[in-house]
């Protein structure tokens, strides 16, 4: 009895995070099939990049995972549950793209984070002591406690992202969907957010990141799903994120430079250099080796 008992009462049993997409096809009411026969599966403690051109079905996959569109064939299961049940259990949290949010809306940072708790409250949405505590903890974890009384639009791009991550944490979603999290954000901030994502990975969260920012994918994503109206390849980054696969994913859309080894410089490093870019951070391959992590991510 006592304090320990009080603490544990409101903690729901934590399920292991997982996403299973099996033979998923989505056809919209106008007859357009956005995704056909897509399959991939992801487990806990994962950061997975969802990569593909505009119109390749990235947002349709997100919508299917959140239950906004019904599969015309196949199925999506989250933590082993059907989507509707998983959404009802607050398993899925969503971090929106910057353009989709009205930054002039008169809400404070703490109110935005509290919105993550709404699914846990009764229909009048009156916060309990637990709800307030979870909001405090979430703000603390992303380092935004000092900004809690600011209007959301007054923050910088990176701070806004951290607030929305805090909302996902407060929601206690084991699965977090991030829609273009690095668009319009400078490199330092990006690194800070990536650190935060790694931190969440260590605590067992499963993050699916839709991104055009190819260069940083090998830095922080351990899994990659390549998409073009279906899943072209899915698996560990070292195996899947190769020049050949990317060429298949993007067709002629990407800019792709190859610089010959010996012709470029006369030293021991005979590898050719391949640069692939989708107008954001370019991806650089040395020789035909798998993509490398940047130095700042190496231990020490």
């Amino acid at each position: 009895m006592g304090a320990l008992d009080l603490l544990s009462r409101d903690e729901a049993p934590v399920r292991e995070a997982s996403i299973t997409v099996r033979d998923l096809s989505v056809t919209y009411p106008n007859g357009f099939t956005a995704v056909r026969d897509a399959s991939f599966s992801l487990g806990p403690g994962t950061i997975c990049a969802l990569v593909g051109v505009n119109g390749s079905g990235k947002s349709t996959i997100f919508k299917a995972i959140m239950g906004f569109v019904k599969p015309s064939a196949g199925e999506v299961r989250l933590c082993g549950l059907p989507v509707d049940q998983a959404v009802g259990d607050n398993i899925v949290a969503y971090v929106p793209q910057s353009e989709d949010v009205d930054w002039n809306f008169p809400v404070l940072v703490e109110t935005v984070v509290m919105m993550g708790r709404y699914g846990h409250m009764n229909f009048l949405r009156v916060p309990s002591r637990t709800d307030r505590r979870k909001v405090d903890e979430a703000l603390e974890r992303v380092g935004m406690s000092a900004y809690r009384k600011r209007q959301i639009g007054e923050l910088s791009g990176g701070q806004k992202k951290r607030v929305f991550l805090a909302r996902a944490l407060a929601q206690e979603g084991r699965i977090i969907l991030l829609d273009e999290p690095f668009t319009g954000i400078d490199v330092t901030t990006e690194a800070a957010i990536i650190d935060l994502l790694r931190d969440l990975r260590a605590s067992g969260h499963l993050m699916l990141v839709s991104t055009h920012n190819l260069g940083t994918v090998p830095d922080y994503c351990d899994q990659v799903v390549l998409l073009n109206r279906t899943v072209l390849a899915a698996g560990p980054t070292e195996k899947v994120f190769t020049p050949k696969n990317l060429e298949r994913t993007f067709g002629g859309v990407l800019r792709n430079f190859e610089l010959g080894g010996r012709e470029l410089h006369d030293d021991d490093d005979a590898r050719k250099v391949t640069v692939i870019t989708d107008d954001e951070r370019p991806l650089v391959f040395y020789g035909d080796a798998p993509p490398q992590k940047h130095d700042r991510d190496r231990p020490e």
Binding site: V92, F105, P106, V107, L108, T111, G116, Y118, G119
Partner: protein
């Protein structure tokens, strides 16, 4: 304090305050979404319905309801069968219906008063009309009190709202239904032309005063209720034009907030600029020394 002796004055003041409060509640959302002119369109579109209701002796709310449906169907029809932009369609449909209403009122001048419809006439409102208005206002307010937080999430970040299981489509339908109903109610207090002020000004004023949505709603409601209550009282002295008095009071509050709001007002912005200039001058002086 002459007019307070009359029962009809008290009735007019309370009914106005109720309508003012609920319209202000809605205004907090409407002005944030850039849908302010919808209130104007609705206010004008329902005029022929109200006129028809008076001519055949039906409750005015029923007439307004049918006119509202006619307006939305009309807009949907024109949109589907032309390449006109939305604002042009709204402009076309609501002026057409308003003109129709004026025409009806001028053809049957004994049963419908143009002045009542266009300017409102809460001081002379018949009891059964007052009851209709009060019921609309109280029910709408109660519904809003239940859904205000879900509506806030929906309007701020609809994807998140959906992802935590909020039925955003249903919420929006409820919101627009309440808006139509309250527009009908406000028609009785301030008239068709000034309905727009009731569903925009209080929210816009509160928006200048706070960044906290809950507080914004409270301020808006207080302003809406107060200006309507006092406006109805004052209108006794200027012989009738209640709508004009209420909206003038609302505008006065808005102007005060516009200039003196502590953070978002004109003076605050000027102070901030001055502070920046002074700080820069100081840095320069410091560097020179």
């Amino acid at each position: 304090m002459v007019p307070l002796g009359y029962e009809y004055m008290w009735k007019a003041m309370w009914v106005s305050a109720l309508v003012g409060a609920v319209c202000a509640f809605l205004s907090a959302y409407l002005m944030l979404k850039g849908w302010s002119l919808m209130g104007d369109a609705l206010g004008h579109s329902i005029v022929p319905g109200v006129a028809a209701a008076y001519i055949i002796g039906a409750p005015f709310a029923v007439g307004a309801f049918f006119a509202g449906i006619l307006a939305s169907l009309g807009m949907a029809f024109v949109k589907q069968h032309s390449r006109l932009r939305e604002d042009a369609i709204i402009g076309l449909v609501f002026t057409t219906l308003f003109a129709l209403g004026l025409l009806m009122a001028s053809l049957w001048p004994t049963s419908v008063s143009i002045q009542t419809i266009v300017l409102g006439n809460i001081l002379a409102i018949p009891d059964e009309d007052a009851t209709q208005v009060a019921v609309i206002a109280v029910v709408s307010f109660a519904v809003m009190a239940f859904i205000w937080k879900d509506l806030m999430v929906t309007f701020f970040d609809e994807t998140h709202a959906k992802s935590i299981g909020i039925n955003t489509r249903l919420l929006k339908i409820v919101f627009f239904t309440l808006l139509s109903a309250c527009t009908v109610a406000a028609l009785q207090t301030v008239g068709a032309c000034l309905v727009i002020a009731m569903v925009v000004t209080p929210g816009a004023t509160a928006y200048l005063l706070t960044d906290r949505f809950g507080l914004l709603v409270l301020i808006a409601i207080a302003f809406g209720a107060l200006t309507s209550f006092v406006g109805a009282y004052l209108s006794y002295f200027v012989d009738g034009a209640t709508g004009g008095v209420i909206v003038t009071l609302q505008t006065v509050l808005f102007l005060i907030a516009f200039y003196f709001a502590p953070k978002h007002g004109v003076l605050a912005a000027r102070r901030k600029r001055q502070a920046v200039v002074e700080a820069a001058a100081e840095t320069r002086a410091g560097a020179a020394a």
